[in-house]
Symmetry: C2
Subunit: 137 residues, 2 copies
DNA sequence: TGTCGGATGTTATAAGGTAACGTTTCTTGT
DNA sequence: ACAAGAAACGTTACCTTATAACATCCGACA
């Protein structure tokens, strides 16, 4: 029976380990970095990481940063409840990533797509630059 | 050479070959696909392709699609001003890529960055979905 | 003419990602 | 409870993408 269609899905052991690794990091991690972090917990090969990542991304608990080939735990509140466009601001100095949810941006992307008759499924928005903290430093 | 209609840029032989390969394609090409296409023209190894691509991307004649690990020749009208944000609409059906320049989008991204004190250097916007032609078909 | 820097050629290897297959472990219907 | 199917797991092997490092070639130019 479908007992939990809305609340946080239970993660499997591997998914939880990967998610914890990402949550504990203060920046994006590559799949192979995660693998190395989890070797002492029994991980031995890439598919174990990628399978967990695939699921976590699917659920919405983890985001993939296309321009970095890396992954971050979702820190946006209520991220698993709706699929809106999320932009990422990636600091090229400190490596940290800020997650930005912006309705005007979502609308704008929707309009751009609509104008060209494009059926939009997923948007990737990644901003590269220097974060406020690094600029101040 | 005579084929190069861009001002202020004279491409080397390898750069021209890579650019021509991309211009002749009707979709994005991976670096290794380009390598294969250019083997008969003397290309033998990845660095030859990547070096040319690096320069072409730098100049702005070629765009890198982060979510595909692939490259497209710039087809945006007035591409000689490469400072604006360009969005790509990638059709998951036919594989073609539309290049979209949109001031409202640029503004919006600038505002988002400014609001968080982020010094924006480069924006990556890639939309995945189904293009108009494929929807109609 | 020598030399200096950019472009090139080449080998080797790092880094990212997946196919395929067998086994284990959960579900679920009866 | 138990068989059967589904989902997750472990493992090997392999593919794709990208770069490091080093040698060479070639044109600009003092």
């Amino acid at each position: 029976m479908a007992e939990d269609a809305q609340m946080g899905t239970d993660l499997t052991k591997n998914q939880q380990l990967v998610f914890d690794a990402l949550s504990g990091a203060d920046g994006p991690l590559s799949a192979y970095t995660i693998l190395d972090l989890l070797r002492e917990r029994g991980f031995r090969a890439p598919p174990q990481v990628y399978r967990a990542l695939d699921k976590l991304v699917d659920i919405g608990l983890v985001h993939r940063l296309e321009s970095l080939n890396a992954f971050v735990a979702c820190r946006h509140p209520g991220c698993d409840t709706h699929e809106e466009t999320i932009a990422f601001a990636i600091c090229e100095d400190c490596g940290k990533v800020a997650e930005i949810s912006d309705d005007a941006l979502s609308d704008e992307l929707g309009q751009i797509a609509g104008r060209s008759g494009f059926l939009l499924k997923k948007s990737t928005v990644e901003l590269r630059g220097i974060c406020g903290a690094c600029r101040a430093a």
